[in-house]
């Protein structure tokens, strides 16, 4: 996916004069490592932090069905951002971690945020086994791979505790994981695990609900993933009932924007999609948090015979946090049917 939120802090932390693009993601990468097209992934090492890069995230979304017959969605995200370089530990560590958690029902949406310093053990990602956490939110594996995870998060009277089991391989986006984000060459390293099955429990204010469903994990790191003129994006991760999956995004700028995506077959083969292979058309807007947000889309990938309508399960899936954006589960109808997640940023 795209720049899913590196939402981060960057806006909180970077001097406003230098904040470029949404959430400061267009800020120059001076001094940090840059994505390199010749890099190949090295697992399980690449599941862990890449501290030479300025920003990085572990980003999981799940579409769920409750024992009560209702549809649900959840989001668990851990961002790392470096305010400077260096490998200092303790309070001198330059890294800051941000966690976002969301939970969506057809008529309600819950969102919460955590923020923590790196280097002191309050947040981080370590191996042996793989363990990603911020405060008491946690993504814990049984081993160093991402094949079997347990995921917990929540705040106050809501939360979730679910187990994930990977049913397919890791998917590299772009050119072997080198994912280009603009015509001028901004890029990131980007892979996913879109084949999770999920079972577990959501804790709603009125009581727990047992759920099952599918989940999608994105891993991405870069130092300047957006071009300066890019103001936001619309990002889709869809799982069709056929077993095929589609990741597609559109980065918005002053002009035509920039599209990219990946077609993933049920067997786990990935096919990059270029700017000219994807058509996104907003069909209807909703009034969300005082702004117009397109919550009903037509998405076409003619080369794959895809022409679907994508509708928000709950149009009010607004993550009203320190950096606000729309993120929620969607229903897919048309040439293909299925479910997925939609993320939209930069709508003022």
């Amino acid at each position: 996916m795209i720049a899913r939120l590196w939402i981060v802090l960057l806006v909180l932390l970077a001097p406003p004069a230098f904040a470029q693009g949404f959430a400061g993601l267009g800020t120059t990468a001076e001094g940090f490592a840059l994505p390199d097209p010749d890099t190949t992934f090295d697992f399980p090492q690449d599941h862990l932090p890449h501290e030479g890069f300025r920003i990085e995230w572990w980003y999981l979304t799940a579409t769920l069905s409750g024992a009560d017959g209702l549809d649900y969605g959840l989001q668990w995200t851990l961002f790392r951002t470096a305010l400077g370089q260096g490998a200092d530990q303790g309070w001198r560590s330059p890294h800051v971690w941000l966690g976002h958690a969301g939970m969506t029902t057809p008529d309600r949406h819950f969102a919460a945020e955590k923020i923590a310093r790196g280097g002191i053990g309050q947040a981080g990602v370590t191996s042996g086994p793989f363990d990603a956490w911020i405060d008491d939110w946690r993504m814990l594996s049984t081993d160093n791979s991402l094949n079997a995870l347990r995921l917990t998060a929540g705040e106050g009277d809501w939360g979730y505790d679910v187990a994930l089991q990977a049913q397919g391989p890791l998917i590299a986006h772009g050119a072997e994981g080198y994912s280009v984000k603009s015509p001028t060459g901004q890029a990131s390293h980007y892979y996913s695990q879109p084949f999770y099955t999920v079972s577990g429990r959501l804790n709603l204010p009125e009581g727990p609900v047992e759920v099952t469903g599918q989940a999608w994990l994105d891993r991405e790191w870069s130092s300047q993933p957006l071009a300066e003129d890019q103001s936001g994006w619309d990002w889709f991760s869809l799982s069709f009932d056929s077993g095929d999956k589609l990741m597609a995004f559109r980065l918005r700028d002053g002009g035509a924007g920039f599209r990219s995506g990946t077609w993933i077959t049920a067997l786990g083969e990935a096919q990059p999609l270029g700017d000219d292979q994807i058509v996104t058309t907003p069909l209807a807007h909703a009034q969300v948090a005082g702004r117009e947000v397109p919550v009903h889309w037509r998405l076409e990938v003619p080369s794959r015979g895809v022409s679907v309508e994508v509708r928000a399960l709950n149009p009010q899936s607004w993550m009203g946090l320190s950096i606000a954006y729309w993120e929620g589960p969607v229903q897919v109808t048309g040439s293909h049917t299925g479910r997925g997640y939609l993320e939209m940023t930069g709508y003022e």
């Binding site: 909180l12 932390l13 309070w91 923590a116 310093r117 002191i120 053990g121 405060d135 008491d136």
Partner: protein, 792 residues
């Protein structure tokens, strides 16, 4: 008719502008001293309130570990277990010769981050570069300190504190991986805490409690000043009425109703009081502004309470000042108005038989005075605390003042009976006749002198004791503070072969008597046996401390809890007998000393990075230079005992600057009171001088007699004031100090100070009497002759 009355009354002031000035100045001075003290108190209180409202954590629940810090890993684990707590690393260091509190916070979790991190770049600079946030006045003072991160002004930071990121605080305090406490952001159950951790609620108003006694002291001084000021006003208003007696009679004879005349006079009085009160407020503001920095220094030095230097106009003290001015004028004016009411229209105006009921009056007064003093003693016996102490002081001082006229009259009678020759007889008799008119002024002088003697005796005794104590207590030649335990151990090892002894200064925090207390551990060394200032001690005190069989407590704790030799003190749950009590000035909190092994056993592995070094005097400089070069010590990490003593003495002297200033001002006011009294008597003097002049004494001689009489009365007053002042000093040292600070001081006598003060009193009296005497010398003979022509 009213207009005529007004015109006539006001024309008096046009002819006697000096009297008008005296009246207004007297009331203004009294108001000024009173409102200055009120303004200082109000400012200090506002400052404490600000501090507890702002970043400081008012009534905040915190988690700490008695006897040590909280490991960073413990904090991280608590966060991972879902505790919503915020870390704080706090400590004091000395920068530019004054203690500042470094408060290291994590801007991402601390509830005050909203204040310090108002803007994104601020947050970033907080994290990335490391910045120190402080109030502008503190920043101004620290601008020259090397090796400090950039300083940034922020009015939300409490006075005397430097707020910064924990990473910077670690560097400045020389500690890593430790936190001092955690702020509890969501309610928790203390039962869930890991062993060793403790939940407690900071009361936040410790400062208010601690400094209460200091402010009570100041307030008492304010009252004294106002009381003395009232004497002046009384004198001045009495003068204004006395001199216009003929005028009142004439106005009444012309048909102005008594009621109307009294109303007009009351309005005149109130108008004068308002003008004088306003002037007093301006003066008071100036005095307060001049004294506030010293008061702030005192409060910081004594209690660690911070008051910033700026003085604001606050309704509380403005109103208090005006109310006192008006109240004072009413008190002083009521007597005069009552006299006017009784004034017979046709009676002669200037014939006043001064000595008339004086004997009876002074005896009654003296009885009331003795009763007051007795009441003061009873108050102290019945009630505990500072207020009872001040009641005793007030009773003693006022009682002595009331007894003064009788004492002086007895002294004069004695002189009279010993006098031979008509002139001498006349001088004594005349002095006795003058006494009732002067007694108020002399009472003011006595109060001012006694206060001066008492306070200066207290301060000098304290200074002597304090200096001796410092020499004992700071026995080590050098004091080292390392950055952390690791550096501490390195330094200790390096020093061992180079100095006579390395005495670790290790302490743990605890609460004794409900107050934060420090528990020190000491190793076995002759230094303590030789130098530690003990007030009370078991014969085997040091052996028992080293064996872990007892505890030394400071005087403050001993007095407050009434704990003495053999009583039990509970430290970290373990009860131990008191084997000694030591004096500990300049620290309001409880303190205890135990053997080092016992400390480590009770409080765990407390930090070990501060040391006292015993070094032969000749080698101090060399060791010091080598230490500084070899180790990267934190700012202020290396100090010679001479420096510490110097700073301590400066704090001490600061403490009493305000007292001294108020003392001097009070004495000035008393001198002024004598002047106004003598001026009041002036008009009635001519009829008394004229017969003596006509009998052949020259005006010059008469003037000298006038001057001498004033000096004699002042000298007698001083003679009485010295013992009263010594009584005051005794109460200050043995009652007020114990209640206010928790220490009792030995009293020393300083006769030279008394002589000096008596000299000052004589000079004040001479200056005050000089002008009336000069007028006597210059009075035209025709005027003296007129006395016979007009009045008989």
């Amino acid at each position: 008719m009213t207009r005529v009355a007004w015109g006539a009354l006001i024309s008096h002031w046009r002819r006697q502008p000096l009297q008008l000035v005296t009246l207004i100045l007297g009331l203004a001075l009294a108001t000024a001293l009173w409102s200055a003290v009120q303004a200082i108190n109000a400012e200090a209180r506002a400052s404490y309130a600000r501090a507890s409202e702002q970043l400081a954590t008012g009534t905040q629940a915190i988690i700490d570990r008695p006897g040590g810090g909280i490991a960073l890993a413990t904090y991280a684990q608590m966060r991972r277990d879902g505790w919503n707590v915020a870390p704080v690393l706090q400590g004091r260091i000395v920068l530019e010769g004054r203690q500042v509190t470094i408060v290291g916070i994590d801007v991402l979790t601390h509830p005050a981050a909203a204040v310090t991190g108002e803007t994104p770049d601020l947050t970033e600079s907080f994290l990335a570069e490391g910045r120190l946030f402080a109030r502008p006045d503190l920043i101004a003072r620290l601008s020259g300190v090397p090796d400090l991160p950039p300083l940034q002004a922020n009015a939300a930071v409490p006075p005397g504190e430097l707020w910064t990121d924990i990473s910077v605080a670690e560097r400045l305090l020389g500690q890593t991986g430790q936190l001092s406490h955690l702020l509890v952001l969501d309610p928790i159950d203390a039962g869930d805490l890991a062993p060793g951790l403790r939940l407690r609620v900071e009361e936040g108003n410790d400062t208010v409690q601690l400094t209460r006694s200091f402010h009570l002291n100041l307030t008492a001084f304010g009252f004294l000043a106002f009381g003395v000021g009232l004497f002046i006003v009384h004198g001045a208003i009495g003068l204004a009425f006395e001199q216009r007696r003929a005028l009142f009679r004439t106005l009444r004879a012309l048909g102005v109703p008594l009621r109307r005349l009294m109303l007009v006079l009351s309005i005149e009085l109130l108008g004068l009081a308002v003008v004088a009160g306003a002037l007093g407020l301006v003066l008071g503001h100036l005095v307060a502004a001049a004294l506030l920095p010293d008061v702030a220094a005192t409060l910081r030095g004594l209690y660690g309470a911070e008051v910033d230097g700026a003085l604001a106009l606050r309704p509380a003290w403005v109103l208090a000042g005006l109310a006192m001015a008006l109240g004072g004028a009413v008190v002083a004016g009521t007597g005069a108005l009552a006299k006017l009411r009784r004034l017979p229209i046709l009676a002669g105006a200037t014939v006043v038989v001064w000595a008339e009921n004086a004997g009876l009056g002074s005896r009654r007064q003296a009885m009331a005075g003795v009763a007051l003093a007795v009441l003061g003693v009873i108050a102290l016996a019945l009630f505990d605390g500072l207020v009872a102490g001040f009641a005793l002081l007030a009773g003693l001082l006022l009682g002595a003042a009331l007894c003064l006229p009788l004492c002086l009259s007895l002294m004069l009678r004695l002189g009279h009976s010993a006098a031979s020759g008509p002139v001498a007889q006349w001088v004594w008799a005349d002095a006795r006749a003058q006494l009732p008119g002067l007694s108020l002024a002399l009472m003011a002088l006595m109060l001012a002198l006694a206060t001066n003697v008492g306070v200066s005796t207290m301060v000098s005794s304290f200074r002597l004791t304090f200096t001796g104590w410092l020499d004992q207590r700071l026995a080590a030649e050098l004091y080292v503070t390392a950055r952390d335990d690791a550096q501490g151990a390195e330094i200790e090892a390096w020093l061992a072969p180079r100095v006579q002894a390395v005495l670790p200064i290790r302490s743990a925090g605890d609460r004794l008597n409900g107050q934060p207390a420090t528990i020190f551990g000491i190793i076995e060394h002759q230094t303590y046996r030789d130098h530690w200032p003990l007030l009370q001690a078991d014969p085997a005190v040091w052996a028992r401390i080293e064996a872990g069989e007892g505890v030394l407590i400071n005087e403050q704790l001993a007095y407050r809890q009434d704990l003495w030799l053999g009583d039990q003190v509970t430290l970290a749950g373990q009860s131990m007998p008191v084997v000694g009590v030591y004096s500990d000035y300049g620290n309001p909190n409880p303190q205890a000393i135990i053997g080092m092994d016992t400390l480590l056993q009770l409080y765990g592995d407390v930090p070990n990075y501060r040391f006292g070094l015993r070094v032969p005097p000749a080698q101090v400089d060399a060791v010091r230079a080598e230490l500084a070069e070899r180790f990267d010590l934190p700012p202020g990490g290396l100090r010679a005992n001479t420096e510490v003593k110097q700073v301590s003495k400066a704090v001490f002297e600061n403490t009493f600057v305000v007292t001294g200033a108020l003392n001097a001002l009070t004495l000035g006011v008393a001198g002024f009171a004598i002047l106004t009294s003598l001026l009041t008597l002036w008009t009635s003097r001519l009829p008394q001088i004229a017969p003596v002049w006509s009998l052949g004494l020259t005006r010059r001689t008469i003037a000298l007699v006038e001057l001498g009489r004033s000096l004699m009365l002042a000298a007698f007053t001083a003679l009485i004031a010295v013992p009263v002042g010594l009584g005051l000093a005794w109460v200050l040292l043995n009652v007020i100090n114990v209640e206010a600070f928790g220490w009792r001081l030995p009293m020393f006598l300083f006769p030279r100070d008394w002589a000096l003060l008596t000299g000052l009193a004589l000079i004040a009296a001479a200056l005050a009497a000089g002008w009336p005497a000069w007028r006597v010398a210059r009075v035209p003979p025709a005027m003296l002759l007129k006395v016979f022509a007009n009045d008989r």
